[in-house]
Symmetry: C2
Subunit: 357 residues, 2 copies
């Protein structure tokens, strides 16, 4: 049983490899040879305007004989800011957060590894956005605009550069110093100009690819800013808002199950879709309705075209994650860690039992 750290994941994972294993996993999913269990979120109010939230999801990828369980044990506060409502996970675990991936071997049942989810999380979200660019953006897309300057924005820049040969990227985020530091850092990483812009519209107007990767749960892009032929995507559909999505000629989603299944203490063991446990509308039922939307895997599988022509506006809603992503990326991380002798080995026997469970 291997304990792998975020630092090790960082040295092991490349965006290119990550996109390749996810592409394979989505094809497996398309052929119904993979399985994910929808994310469930359990909410308990703490009495200090925060919630304890326990999230879990699972994915099984038989071709790699890996089952993955992703767990988040969070204390979350929602707060109003001039830019909208923001959700903040409180780092109360000695200044850290708690997000874990446990990997299991489907041949033996054994737990193979535990690793933090942070680095994988950035990779898998961005890699999926990158695959959407690969299959949905114009073949000659050369420019990108980006909203957000956090860790998800960082990996999104890299996956876009894997998917297309870009000439430059414009980035907007509300804090000037933050977007400038981000642009400076990312320019050096991807080797093309990453340009901080002062007005939000400049990160969309006239650009081929427009991506929102913020922690905002209110609209950050206006429909007027999006021109013909653009590919637009987001990590939360609320970042785009209904009118931006409505402007697209073709919309695909990561999963038709847009909202997690919520269980809220005091309401019995009842599953609640699209309700509002935190009273901030993050998962409003009115904003769902993706039940019959095209899922990304059907485009990868060749069943549906990602784009019909160079004039269409395409939109990818990189909504709720799938356990499958953690199985695919986790399997890759695990095999590389074994190959390179990384991670801390714990006795397998600590995690098996001779008592019939």
């Amino acid at each position: 049983m291997l304990i792998i750290s975020n630092d090790e994941v960082r040295t092991l994972l490349t965006m290119k490899d990550c996109m390749a294993v996810l592409e394979e996993a989505y094809l497996e999913r398309h052929h119904q040879r993979a399985l994910s269990r929808p994310r469930t979120d359990l909410y308990v109010p703490r009495g200090d305007d925060a919630y304890y939230v326990f999230k879990s999801m699972e994915g099984l990828l038989p071709v790699k004989h890996v089952a993955a369980l992703r767990i988040n044990s969070d204390i979350i506060k929602w707060r109003k800011t001039p830019e909208g409502i923001r959700k903040d996970k409180q780092p109360l675990a000695d200044g850290n957060w708690v997000g874990l991936i446990a990997l299991f071997d489907m041949h033996t049942g054994k737990m193979m590894a535990i690793l933090p989810d942070g680095v994988v999380q950035g990779f898998r979200v961005a890699a999926t956005g990158g695959l959407a660019i690969k299959y949905m953006a114009r073949a000659d897309a050369k420019t990108m605009g980006l909203y957000g300057a956090g860790w998800q924005a960082e990996t999104q820049v890299i996956s876009a550069c894997v998917a297309r040969t870009l000439e430059y990227i414009k980035v907007y985020s509300p804090t000037k110093a933050k977007r400038e530091a981000f642009a400076d850092r990312m320019s050096r990483i991807v080797g093309i100009p990453v340009i901080p812009v002062d007005k939000p519209e400049e990160a969309a107007q006239g650009l081929d690819i427009v991506v929102a990767t913020t922690n905002s749960i209110t609209q950050v892009i206006k429909p007027d800013w999006i021109g013909p032929g653009a590919h637009v995507s987001c990590v939360k559909h609320l970042e785009l808002g209904e009118d931006v999505i409505a402007k697209a000629d073709f919309v695909a989603v990561h999963s038709q199950l847009t909202v997690p299944e919520n269980y809220v203490i005091g309401q019995g063991e009842k599953r609640i879709y699209g309700q509002d446990p935190n009273e901030h509308g993050e998962h409003k039922a009115s904003e769902t309705g993706w039940e019959s939307a095209v899922e990304l895997h059907t485009i990868l599988g060749g069943e549906v075209k990602g784009r019909e022509n160079d004039e269409q506006i395409t939109c990818f809603v990189n909504n709720i994650g799938l356990g499958l992503q953690f199985a695919a990326v986790g399997a890759l991380v695990y095999s590389l860690a074994k190959e390179r002798g990384l991670g801390i080995n714990l006795p397998d026997g600590w995690f098996t039992e001779d008592v019939h469970p």
Copy 2:
């Protein structure tokens, strides 16, 4: 982060303590101050007449500030025997099985402990059966009949003896040598005669408490064997069958959610209730229908009487487990392990992260 072994759990847990913490947890549940996420089972056929099955469930118990996740990573075969269909978990993890409980601190989010589920499993099922005896059997119940001679039968004998002062127990299981060894061993443990019987009816006729704790998924008790005033219970409703349950004047269940939520590969990310992924009818929809049954916690909470008089036949269907049980018993095990310095301490930092998840 503490790694606790089954052997340590055995030295730490007593049935009396276990019943006490579960009683408290059920009261919390009754007052809607606890939360469980229904068990989900993910099925993938292996191609060798077995399935890989990944099960998980969760429970949050704020009064103890503990969240528990219970995981089973099993390879399961179903086989026909003269006594009915049996389900066998294959010990392919170096000869062992894989069932784990992970405990989280709701104050900080931190993972507090990982322990195998085997010993806890025996305790929590039997403790719940014991609480049902406490609240539903006649106050003067003095005799018990038992079906099964496995590990669950063992703990069930102990919890019955905590709930009532018994004079003797009769035990039946199909293999003579097994039931005799069991009776011999248990007599010494509980200090009252445990008598092996050769005919199945002898473990029910004229007895005050009749409990089925087998791994059979077909009926083991006939309705004619149950007399007035008896309290009957089972760990799977199929052990009793519909006619035994129908004979009872009052029936309570552990949970109204009798069947887990199944996801079967090849059928999309669809939740399937009561279907038959393994084609052996373990979770047939026709045998469910407990959606409005009385749950044990309502009896503990004083809302419903467990028994009206000494003539009634009462029946407790100790059906599907609740994550809450693992939170309650897990919290107890963890606090005792800390108190007595047991378990292997791993650095907390291995299981937290400074990367925002």
